[in-house]
Amino acid sequence: MTRPSTGIVGSFRYLDTLLAAIARLRQAGYRDLQALSPVPHHAIDEALHKPASPVRVFTLIGCLLGAVTGFVLTIATSLHYPLITSGKPIVSIPPFLIIVFELTILFGGLLTLGGMLLNARLPQVHTVPAYDPRFSEDRFGLWVRCAVTDFDAVARLLESAEAEGVHRVEK
């Protein structure tokens, strides 16, 4: 199924009217909705029935990878050039754990960032057609992807849900 690139965007002044509009549209069968807002709000995620973010998996993989890298780096390089210092064993785990810890955090952080960019589809060169600068300031937006034939029905729904403005994206 290909997603239509056309749709309608409604702008809202209040959070509660936005949430009501989301509920109404979902009831009317429009599920391909995207909210745009200046602040994150759990109520929006709940209204849209979005699953939890998978970024945590990236963090976990990064941390594990970092820990393994730390052990391999310290142990392998020490064995590669075995030079006894202060009468300590060549593979001295306690001090190596410090390197392991730091690399766990470093790789965990880098993959968290990577996971966020990948999942949030960032960076983006062009903003989506539904974007309006006011959605970063003091308005909430609701982007409804739908076929051109549905435009009038969706516009009516948005207006009856007290959208301040309704804007059609037709290309």
């Binding site: 009217t17 994150p40 973010s53 880098l110 966020m116 589809r121 960032l122 960076p123 989506v128």
Partner: protein, 441 residues
């Protein structure tokens, strides 16, 4: 903050980013002059060798390492405010965390220079890193100096990630309101941010995990820095209390630095609605806590020097308290552990001049603390034959002043180019605009 609206927040915070006045340029230029003088002193030291600084046997670590430890310490409070208070969901952090985080990043820029300045041949700095080379030689992972490289570099990278990630939704607001080269700069920093529910969902998850990773990291970094000393057998350094002692001291000095910078910032940019008196008061309360921990550490050090019945340990202690460096020692005791107790008085911690004055004294005291630890330890080691003193030359002093100018260079740029208070998080703390009053989601 409840009377504010989203639009008002944008206007107030962006106003701080308007073209600067003449005073800003004058301060910036003066700062550049000091920075240039510091750079000249470093060049002089590279050309003529380390002998031009005051470093000599037996005190081979002195003011440069003092500066290194001081600046790493300054960085710590930023992470405390931005990451640890975020995990604890402390609401007042929204107004101050951007500044604190900027302090972290710039303090690390400064701290990172000092190990390089301290190298006799700074162009071989990459010898500190593990990389495959022809001889098959690798770095010694049993050395605290190598732990330090890993800890400080990880800290620098993670705090920059945290700083720039936190900026993304804010610079998107700025991007929409600017033209020309500024627009291109903010468009790059915003990475195409639009505030869709998908972006916010992943962004909040990532931010939470970055905070969770930064929290243990910040504790580890100053612990590792303290082990540079504690792992040696120098009397006065070889102590298990060093890690918590250094971490508390780091946060102590960092909080003082944040207060020192926030007070002029909120006045100049008229941000009193965002950085309120109660923010400063809360920071002052945190300083009471860290000041008490630092004071406790001083007492324990004294007690152990006596109770251990160890001759070099006790000799070094008496030297510290009554010797050539006694004045810095008593400055450290007075400014770090006694003066902050004044914050127990509500009238003092709510008065801006008192806050500013005490914060400056703590900054001085904490710098002195590092100097006392490092120099008195080395000046008075085991064998009386090898005792000696350290006095800074013009090169040491110029490079130290230059490092402050380097820090303020970045901070002054930040104050004008980026939102000094987080727009998105301040809005998040406000009640969302609702049509039906009393029906809060």
């Amino acid at each position: 903050m409840s009377e504010l609206t989203y639009g008002q927040v944008d206007r107030d915070i962006l106003r701080a980013m308007e073209a600067p006045g003449r005073l800003y340029y004058i301060v910036f230029l003066l700062n550049l002059l000091v920075l240039a003088w510091g750079a000249f002193a470093w060049r002089y030291q590279i050309v003529h060798g380390m002998g031009v600084s005051g470093l000599t046997h037996p005190v081979m670590w002195a003011i440069y390492i003092t500066n290194f430890v001081f600046w790493v310490g300054i960085a710590h409070s930023g992470t405390l405010i931005s990451a640890i208070l975020y995990l604890f969901r402390v609401r007042w952090r929204a107004g101050v965390y951007r500044t604190a985080e900027a302090v972290t990043v710039f303090a690390l820029f400064t701290a990172g220079l000092f190990p390089l300045i301290h190298l006799g041949r700074p162009w071989f700095f990459y010898w500190l890193l593990p990389y495959p080379q022809l001889g098959g030689l690798w770095v010694n992972f049993r050395s605290p100096l190598v732990w330090d490289v890993f800890a400080v570099m990880t800290y620098m990278i993670i705090s920059m990630l945290f700083f720039f990630t936190g900026l993304v939704p804010d610079v998107a607001v700025v991007r929409n309101r600017t033209r020309g080269w500024r627009h291109r700069l903010y468009a790059f920093l915003a990475q195409g941010w639009q505030g869709t529910d998908r972006q916010w969902r992943h962004y909040k998850a990532a931010y939470l995990f970055l905070a969770a990773l930064a929290t243990p990291l910040v504790i580890s970094v100053h612990s590792v820095v303290s082990w540079d000393f504690a792992q040696s057998i120098v009397a006065g350094w070889h102590s298990t209390i060093f890690a918590p002692y250094f971490v508390a001291g780091a946060i102590h000095s960092g909080l003082a630095m944040v207060i020192t910078l926030l007070i002029p910032l909120r006045r100049i940019f008229r941000l009193n609605a965002y950085v309120t008196q109660s923010h400063l008061e809360n920071l002052a309360k945190l300083i009471i806590l860290t000041g008490l921990i630092v004071g406790y550490a001083y007492i324990v050090e004294t007690y152990i020097a006596w109770y251990s019945n160890n001759v070099p340990e006790w000799q070094r202690f008496t030297f510290q308290v009554t010797g050539e460096y006694a004045i810095p020692f008593w400055i450290m005791i007075l400014f770090n552990s006694l003066v902050p107790l004044l914050f127990f008085v509500k009238r003092i911690r709510t008065s801006t001049p008192w806050l500013f004055g005490i914060a400056i004294l703590i900054n001085i005291g904490m710098w002195t603390e590092r100097f006392v630890i490092i120099v008195t330890g080395l000046a008075h080691e085991y064998d009386p034959y090898s005792w000696g003193l350290y006095f800074p030359t013009w090169v040491d002093i110029s490079i130290t002043l230059g490092s402050f100018a380097w820090f303020f260079f970045w901070f002054l740029l930040f104050a004008k180019l980026l939102p000094v208070v987080s727009i998105a998080e301040v809005k998040e703390e406000l009640p969302p605009p609702m049509k039906t009053v009393g029906d809060e989601a």
